[in-house]
Symmetry: C2
Subunit: 219 residues, 2 copies
DNA sequence: ATCATTAACATAACAGCGTCAACAAAAGTC
DNA sequence: GACTTTTGTTGACGCTGTTATGTTAATGAT
């Protein structure tokens, strides 16, 4: 069997290198022409078909990029809670960091969520799934710790509660990034109000269903 | 000037007809190949370039479809508040209807928001902007009426408050539609908890900024 | 050192896309 | 009927993702 040596390491290294370039291109021209496989290759000084040696698909490359973006926002959240001891403060700072980071890097944030046609393929990436869960865990752990210390009520499980925060933060960021806010809305007031509402909602968590159920829910 | 007559009416009529077919195709195969202009034309029995007589762009067609989707969800919300007199009930029913409708028609909902590369163009469509505002107004008016009756506090303006609800509902629906929820999360509990949290947050609206501002905010 | 094998890369080609220009037909006005 | 405008078809361009085929270089075995 000729030519095995360190090829696995070299391959992974080159993969990272391609991903670096891809992320750079994506952040610069971000989404306008949405990262062409061919352009990316030529930008790297390679032929247009070269990246196929490292990624079976364009989707696989995009998913790897997506996972990177999740790792990045996870790091942002982790950085926001260092030095804070109160769970309430941690939760607020974490949510604020998520929102701030997403707003500051709209293309990267959009990469994480906006992709109608690639969802089926994205669902199959375990690398992406792990990155997502790890990012959310930052919030989940803060809530669990807060419950253990008696700061938060126990009648909601931490994973569900962290989803609640994710919903709020994601809703705000994605609407803002997509430029959906209606003129006349006081956006500056939105962030603190939302965070306050979520924390208040968590602390007065009412887990008894109060929503009218005309239809069966989809889950 | 030969041939002016009712051509304007006929044009609009044909436009609607094309949009009908486009919406049908989009809902059926939804996004997988994301609505090809050529396919749509041939599906209509026309040549691949025919729709260019009625839409200057693919973007214009997609934006018209988007506006339709907003009109649809507006109707769903309006239908959810008829017969209810209490503003709190109206608000809950409205939010629940929004969430339920979005979940029941993921492709249509995705069409409303998920489109990274078309955002710039979407921003320029006044038809879409009007549809969006009208949809949000359902919520804004309920809140304003509730404030007038003394059910809701006055220290937040109705438009901002309705955005808060929109943020929560959109965050929930879009994450669910995109299949982003982490395994183990109790989705069924999420809807009533979120709605409760938002209403609680609105009623105890704390408009004084409590969020750490390491960076200047973007808006 | 030579040869075979295999990886990396380049090139060509295919089908599909959005878009526009050029052209045929039809339908209205005069 | 002649003229003009609208509607529709066809061909073409440049782009895309992807695959197949060919080329080059490096390695292991001999």
């Amino acid at each position: 069997m000729p030519r095995p040596k360190f090829s696995d390491d070299l391959r992974a290294q080159k993969r990272e290198q391609i991903l670096d370039a891809a992320m750079a291109v994506f952040e610069k021209e971000g989404g306008e022409e949405a990262l062409s496989f061919r352009r990316l290759a030529t930008e790297l000084g390679l032929s247009y078909s070269a990246p196929y040696r490292y990624f079976v698909d364009k989707q696989e490359l995009v998913n790897a990029l997506r996972a990177r973006a999740f790792r990045w926002i996870e790091a942002e959240m982790r950085g926001a809670i260092v030095g804070l001891s109160e769970p309430e403060k941690q939760l607020e700072s974490l949510a604020a960091a998520y929102i701030r980071s997403g707003m500051a890097h709209p293309h990267r944030y959009a990469l994480m969520f906006f992709a109608l046609d690639q969802l089926e393929v994205a669902r199959r990436s375990i690398e992406l799934k792990a990155a997502k869960r790890d990012a959310l865990d930052v919030c989940t752990q803060v809530i669990a710790a807060g419950q253990a210390r008696g700061n938060f009520p126990l009648d909601i499980d931490p994973l569900t509660a962290s989803h609640l925060f994710w919903i709020g933060a994601h809703g705000l960021v994605s609407l803002q990034v997509a430029g959906q806010f209606v003129m006349g809305c006081d956006v500056k007031m939105l962030v603190p109000t939302l965070i306050h509402a979520l924390r208040t909602g968590l602390e007065h968590a009412d887990t008894s269903a109060k929503v009218p159920s005309k239809e069966k829910r989809h889950g």
